[in-house]
Amino acid sequence: MHIQEETNQRHVLSLTVANEAGILARIAGMFTARGYNIDSLTVADITPDHAISRITIVTNGPPKVIDQIIAQLDRLVPVHKVTDLSENGPYVERELALVKVAGTGEDRIEALRLADVFRAKVVDTTIESFIFEITGPSDKIDTFVGLMGQIGLVEVGRTGVVGLVRGKDPV
C-alpha cells in the first residue's frame, strides 16, 4: 500500500487576532494537529493599545484543504477575521531578507552589481563580505539568494511574508 498525495496551491492568509498569551501556539498547533502546511508565518501587534495582532500565514494545499484551514482558523475564539489574500482580489505581499555574501575581486563586484539590479541595500560590509537587505515578493528573494549562491552565499535570514489588499479599504 502507498500513501497518495494531492497537488497543492500556495495561499497567503491574513488574520487579525486578539493579542493574547498562547495565540501563536493555538494557531501553529492547529496546523500541526490537522496536518496542514505552514511555509511562513509572521506576527506583530498592529494597534496602539497592542490589543490586536496581524498574522500572515503562507500555506499550501488543495482548494478543499485551504477552505478547511480558513474555517478552522475562523473557529478559534481569539481570531477576529481571516482573509485569503490569494482569493480576495489584488494584494501586495512583501518579505524582507538579510543575505550574507563573502568573496573578493570580481565576485565582490558582481555581488554589488546584482544587488543594484534587485535594489538590495548594503547594511554591513567587511573587506571580504557584505550583508544585503532586500525586500520584495518571496520569489524575487528566492532568485536573489539563488544568484548569490553562485558567488559566495554564507547565510540568509528571512522574515516571512506580510501582505495587504490593494486599494483604500481594509480587508
Binding site: 494537529a33 478543499k64 475562523d74 473557529r75
Partner: protein, 594 residues
Amino acid sequence: MALLAFEEGIDVAEMSGADILCQCLVDQGVEVVFGYPGGAVLPIYDILYNHPKIKHVLVRHEQGATHMAEGYARSTGKPGVVLVTSGPGATNAITGITDALMDSIPMIVITGQVATHLIGSDAFQEADTVGLTRHCTKHNYLVKSPAKLAHVVHEAFHIATSGRPGPVVIDIPKDVQVATAPYSKPEMNAHPSYRPQVKADAAAISTAIEMLAAAERPILYTGGGVINSGPEASALLRELAELTGAPVTSTLMGLGAFPASSPQWLGMLGMHGTYEANMAMNKADLIVCLGARFDDRVTGRLDAFSPNSRKIHVDIDRSSVNKTVEVELPIIADVGSAMADMIAVWKQRGHEANDMTEWTARIDGWRARKCLDYVEDGAEIMPQRAIADLFSATRASGKDVIITTEVGQHQMWAAQHYHFDEPNKWLTSGGLGTMGYGFPAAIGAQIGNPDSLVICVAGDASIQMNIQELGTAIQYRLPVKIFILNNEYMGMVRQWQELTYESRYSNSYSDALPDFVKLAEAYGWTGIRIEGPQELEAGIRQMIETPGPVMVDCRVAKLSNCFPMIPSGAAHTDMLLDPSQVSGTMNDEAKALV
C-alpha cells in the same frame, strides 16, 4: 467590570480569587461541581466547605469527574463543572475534556496551578495545563490576576454553552486564588472576536425549502446538534418530518431527537446502522443533514457515499461543512433556529408533502430484510435479547429512563435494540469512543435527574476503566444501575480480529475478570448475576425494583458479533448482514482504516 466599579469609588468589598470563582459559579446558576482536591486548589475547597449553594461531588479519579460532568450536561442541557488540582489532576482530566470536545458537550474545567512566580520552574505538581489542553478544548485560559477572574469565568460559560458547545479550561494559579480583588457581577461581555452564527441566511432557507418540496426521495439525516440545540429542536424536527413526509435517520449521537416509535423512523445509520437507513441514504435524491457532520462512521467509503443525491447541510460550525462530503447547500446556523425558519417558509408557501408512496415502498422492501434480527438457540442469552428485554422492562416500569453506555459491541447493541422517543435520554461517547465514559456519565445523569432510572449498559472490559466510581455512587446514595453484557471479551476488538486477522484473538480475551457480584458487594452495592435465558427477565426486574445502586453481571453469548456492519472502507451498499458474509481477511487499504 469589578475594576471599573473600584475606580469609580463604588464600594465593592474585596474578595479572594477562590471566593470570586465560587461567586461566579453561583451567579451562573451552578448547583453541582464534580471534583477532586489537591494542593493547588485548597483555597477553592475551603470556600466549598459547607457551601450553601454549590454541592461538591467527590469523585474517585479525575477522569470520572469529567465524564460525570458530561453525563450531567447531556441529560440536563446545563453545563457540567469540574474542579481538579494541578499536574496529575489536570492530566487525568484530559480524556474527558477531549471526549467533550468531540461530542460538543458544554463543560467548564477549573484546574489549580502552581503560584504564578513558580510557573515554568518545574515546581511540584506543575504541568503546562493550558499547553496540554489547548487542542482538546474549545478555549482555555490561564488567569494571572484575581481582578480578571470574574470576567474570564463568565466568558468561559458563554463560550462553553453557545455556538457549538464544548469544554473550556480555566487554569488558576494558587496565589491568584488567595489574592483579593473587588467583585461585582460583570455584564456579559463576550470575547470580541467570538461570534457564532445562530440565525440562518434567509435565501439559503428558501432554497432549502424548494429543494425539499421538489424531492421525490428525501431523507433527514440528523445528529447530536439537534439534541444540543435543546428540546425545542427535537419538537421542530418532528414537525418538519411530518410536514415533508421525509423518513428520518440519525447518528449515534442524535438518537432520541426523533421518536423511534414513528413510522418515519429508519433507525440509526452508519457502520452499525440499519440496512434501511443506509440504503435510503444511498438511494435518496435529497439528503438534509441536520446537526450531524458526515463522520467516517456514518459515510463509509466516501466516493460511494450517496452518489446521486443533492445535499443540504445545516451546522452551527462552518468547519464541519464540506470537511469530508461536499454539499450543494450549506446553511450555517443553529439547527433548531434553521428548522423553525424552514417550517415557517414551508407553511407560508403552502407546500404539501410529496407523494412518497414509491419511496416508502422501496424503504419497506429494505425494512423487510429485518437486518437487526438474530438467531437464538435457547442455551445462552443473546446480547441483543438482553437489550431488548431491558427496553421492554424499563418501558413497562413507566419510569423516566436514561441510558448511558460504555464503548464496544454492547454500545452498538444498545443503540440498535433500545428505542428512544425523547432527547437527552441516551448518553454515549461517540466521537472519541471512550471506554470508561458510561458509568461516570450515569452518575452525573443521576445527580442531574434524581428521580430517573439511570442505567449504564456496560461491557466487561469497559466497566473496569472507571470502576473506582462505585464508591462515589454509594457516598451520594445514587441509585444508578450498571448492566454488564459480560461476554468475557473485548468483543468489538475480537469482532475486528475475526473480520481482518483470521480470528487471531491477540489480547482481546478478558482474562482474570473480577467476580462482579462480590465486587459490587464490597462497595455496598447490590450485585446480581444473570446466568441464562430463563433468569433474564426476573434479573432485569430485580435490578429495576431494587432500591439503591445495583450492578448486574449478565452473562451473554461470548462470541456473538454485532451486525449489520459496514466494514471499514466499504460502501453503504456493501453491508454485512450476518456472520455468514464474513470472509476473515481484508486488503491493506481497508486494514489501514480505523
